[in-house]
Symmetry: D2
Amino acid sequence: MLYFKSDYTEGAHPAILEALVRTNLVSQPGYGDDCFTAAAQEKIRLACGCPEAEVYLLTGGTQTNLVVISSLLRRWEGVVCAESGHIAVHEAGAIEFSGHKVLPLPSHAGKLCAEELAALVERFYADETHDHMVFPGMVYLSQPTELGTLYTKAELEAIAAVCRRYEMPLYLDGARLGYGLAAEGNELGLADIAALADVFYIGGTKVGALCGEAVVFPRGNMPPHFATMVKQQGAMLAKGRLLGVQFDALFTDGLYFEIGREAVALAMKLKKAFVQKGYPLFLDSPTNQQFVILTAEQEARLAREAAFERWEPVGDGCYAERFVTSWATTEEQVDALIALL
Amino acid sequence: MLYFKSDYTEGAHPAILEALVRTNLVSQPGYGDDCFTAAAQEKIRLACGCPEAEVYLLTGGTQTNLVVISSLLRRWEGVVCAESGHIAVHEAGAIEFSGHKVLPLPSHAGKLCAEELAALVERFYADETHDHMVFPGMVYLSQPTELGTLYTKAELEAIAAVCRRYEMPLYLDGARLGYGLAAEGNELGLADIAALADVFYIGGTKVGALCGEAVVFPRGNMPPHFATMVKQQGAMLAKGRLLGVQFDALFTDGLYFEIGREAVALAMKLKKAFVQKGYPLFLDSPTNQQFVILTAEQEARLAREAAFERWEPVGDGCYAERFVTSWATTEEQVDALIALL
Amino acid sequence: MLYFKSDYTEGAHPAILEALVRTNLVSQPGYGDDCFTAAAQEKIRLACGCPEAEVYLLTGGTQTNLVVISSLLRRWEGVVCAESGHIAVHEAGAIEFSGHKVLPLPSHAGKLCAEELAALVERFYADETHDHMVFPGMVYLSQPTELGTLYTKAELEAIAAVCRRYEMPLYLDGARLGYGLAAEGNELGLADIAALADVFYIGGTKVGALCGEAVVFPRGNMPPHFATMVKQQGAMLAKGRLLGVQFDALFTDGLYFEIGREAVALAMKLKKAFVQKGYPLFLDSPTNQQFVILTAEQEARLAREAAFERWEPVGDGCYAERFVTSWATTEEQVDALIALL
Amino acid sequence: MLYFKSDYTEGAHPAILEALVRTNLVSQPGYGDDCFTAAAQEKIRLACGCPEAEVYLLTGGTQTNLVVISSLLRRWEGVVCAESGHIAVHEAGAIEFSGHKVLPLPSHAGKLCAEELAALVERFYADETHDHMVFPGMVYLSQPTELGTLYTKAELEAIAAVCRRYEMPLYLDGARLGYGLAAEGNELGLADIAALADVFYIGGTKVGALCGEAVVFPRGNMPPHFATMVKQQGAMLAKGRLLGVQFDALFTDGLYFEIGREAVALAMKLKKAFVQKGYPLFLDSPTNQQFVILTAEQEARLAREAAFERWEPVGDGCYAERFVTSWATTEEQVDALIALL
């Protein structure tokens, strides 16, 4: 079976496993006070060009969204996001369970639009009864989005400008950030993101780690008592080193970026093949997630030899399907899939 | 430096790392639907003698307590525990953050007393105004306790009987269960615990894993939609295999029990040396945590070459100190520490 | 100044004040265990034709929505409602603060559509990843709606049928129910509502009481420990009699219905005058809330002598405006307003 | 039957009902923006000698505790109180339901001790692991206490000093404040309380109102967006005037103080009679709640003609019993009860 179902179907990049083995017997304090975490934090600060950044390592994506959002929002505030945003759909209501409303805006191939964001906020403050409503307290977006698309620099700047005007922190979910950084035409490096976002995370789980996401507060703006809130939500590992060792490895010798480049190159090869063979794209993604339209018959035939994900029906008995590459995808697998098309 | 500070200061038992390396490239579904998790679940069912048990793997101890307790309690209920219980003290109010009161009872060397539990519940229901109070909805205890002590079979049976009389689920926190199972004189095997508790967890993080705790619902009594609640609290790993592979390894060829036996044997050797050299014990623990009383001078001298934890002042300028062994402790380290006494 | 701003700008119907004065010195137990509450409950059961109904009196509308919804939903569930629903907009995120997502559907002049409801639920259960999503756990609607409109019997039956098919309780917010019951052409009496809804409330605050809403569980289906949950949310009055006396008065000699009839008659007179004088209606409401479109100039002129509420801009410099009648509105006031048009 | 069961078994002081009748038809905005609320706020500011105080009217005691405490605490904080405190026992876990731990200290006839409070806070900050614990974030106490006792000025000053040293707001629950202000020997007037507490409430429900508690932030220190949080917890009345009219009446011509004086005078007469007839006091209360020890036989006999509350067993088959006076108690009733002793 050829696996293109997601970027979390194998273990970890071999360099990460090696690092875990190599450091295994070094005795270190728990709860993230270990030397590996410190090294990872420093390397991430360097990669972001933010010497004053504060970095906190967490375990998974939903956990990170939950901890960050519920730590930043005040009680009367909600978080604005695209209606396709992960927190709005696929996190089992985690944000609401923590007491906050998700305020949805239209999704444009997964992206928020700065004008619509500004309009929402202006309408809110213009409403005389807004004290009876949920305040727009922060903005959430994903880069790449859940649909593999990317914000341009101008788009993110426009959103960040609205956020600053209304004092709403801008939070960027980088679950697959490595694949965005490596995309052809990507305009937003780590330093750009650090300059525009108030907090973001560099995804590890989907970019080569066993688990782990690195939250970055680029201007030393971590909320007070953040660690206590992490603990309060059950998100603190006793062996914090597990995250430290992995991110230390990911940010040594550019491994994080290399993983992204290789997976994206394979995704582009696959996309080109789909297009050349006449399969319509559901949308044009420059990152490791590719969305193609198959007929039911094509889906059934391919599914006999490849694992991929039915995304949604698109009418006429056809379906948008998702094919994903990762650090674990090989050129042989891509070629074999192409041969099946 | 000789490390006796805790049982989470090194990585994982080598057999676990080996298993992670060996399985790394096997493609498997995410979110715990992988074959390694299935194998681990089956081995745990066997070890507990509970073919109908439902097993769910989570990442850490506070997370597990939070998810289990908040999934089992109904809105009007709180959880009874010893005032020294981990959930009552060192989890940053996680249970309260999830909406529930922790109802404390006196701690007897870390243990609940069945009579005091019964009295609390009887007093509650006898109170005419109890509809205005928090219902005692479940009981939490640790085996071994936070102080390294163990419940006898009769003690746990008595508590379980009170729980059944009042229909309160009994939840056993086994963060260090492996060290309890291996203790000399321990009367409570996995099958006994499975028979008496309504839910318990087999701790991995402190017993050789990088992370991971195995929640067991011994009578197929996992609450409906448990996975959704896990997701809702940010506790579901995309690469659930990370937990599956580790517990599969821990329950292969009795590794979990062997880790416990070796660490406890070293702890007993250390305790014996303390006693022989005239150090008073703070309490008599049969497990991997040893509590000894040192003068400030003794503490300062030992601390130059060994890492251990000051537990609490006991008067006269003396302190209870905690020394912990684990799978990573070697006989050489114990001998070196003894030589310092 | 002629007051048409809302139906909560005066105190209480005189018969209610009289009842409060008359019963003032009767000593009765607190917390709703008084004889007046018992009498009110019995009269409401009679009025609904539900001898087995359980009735609980609460203080205000948002409080009632919050208590009822958060008591009925299970942790993994959210509440479906029209995007114009009061809980979705004007309750400051109370439902989310209690841990639950509001799942919005399009508003059709304030109303839910049964087909869209069914489609939402079907799409949810058809989604393979729905365990990672918020379950549609109950349905909320208002009768009359926030826009003064009414469900027909067929519409409510269709929605109730979807609710039953998917085991979602149907909750009807009757903040202004008295004005709906009295509307010309209304097809849904209390007995119909009791037959179709699983829980509903009969609004008092906006229909002549100082405060108070009567929650009805028509088939004895009040959740267990409901009173404890009421207390837990700070919603239990020590002097529960305050609510009991008022609802006893409202359901004595048909006062509740009479209040509705008189206010609606005046609203119809006003609507007729608007139409006759050529003012366009924003929508056609048969109840005590009337929505008319005014130019900015008309608004400014009228506002000098009458209080009403600007609802929303409708383009071309015009505004939808709300005019509300109540038990306190007199024919003289309506005539005076008409004279100004 | 002679009613001494509580101070909420009748309606309202006649002057309050009169005010409700008198103001009934005055049209005023909702949600507390009415002229009666404004007048009440101003009179309360005057009575407290705090021109800059912010006053917010809420409906009931548990609601007030819930709203105030959950608005002031930050996520990582809990509230310290005596283990007999109302929030710790009889509010169905409302504080925990809002996400916060109640941190209990010993009760000394219902009162906190400043030294014990200081010790708790010092121990907390001295603990190296306190980031894993619940921070003591504010202090709650009742004046009079749940046992009718009063803090002296020196006692409250000592507690306030600890609060200031550690930047913990001091919150005083004045559910029965009127009866404390009127007690012989009371050292704490409204101005003293306003000077020492950071927030307190003046209880209405138990001191002559139908419902209502006035929250006072004496130094203009109401938290931002307090009204939105009130709404979010379902605690905002549409007809806020109901509370405004009542507090306006209570603070006109000293009615609030007069109600206290009369009820306390009757309570003192009753206490004197108990003592003279040889009944042992459970404790010596100077306010409207009296606690006396009765044998089971005495209890049974008295209960045939009087309603009072069994408080708790005190051994030897005897019970502490509570007798309460209020604005509604008459001298005739007290004399009749005394005649039964």
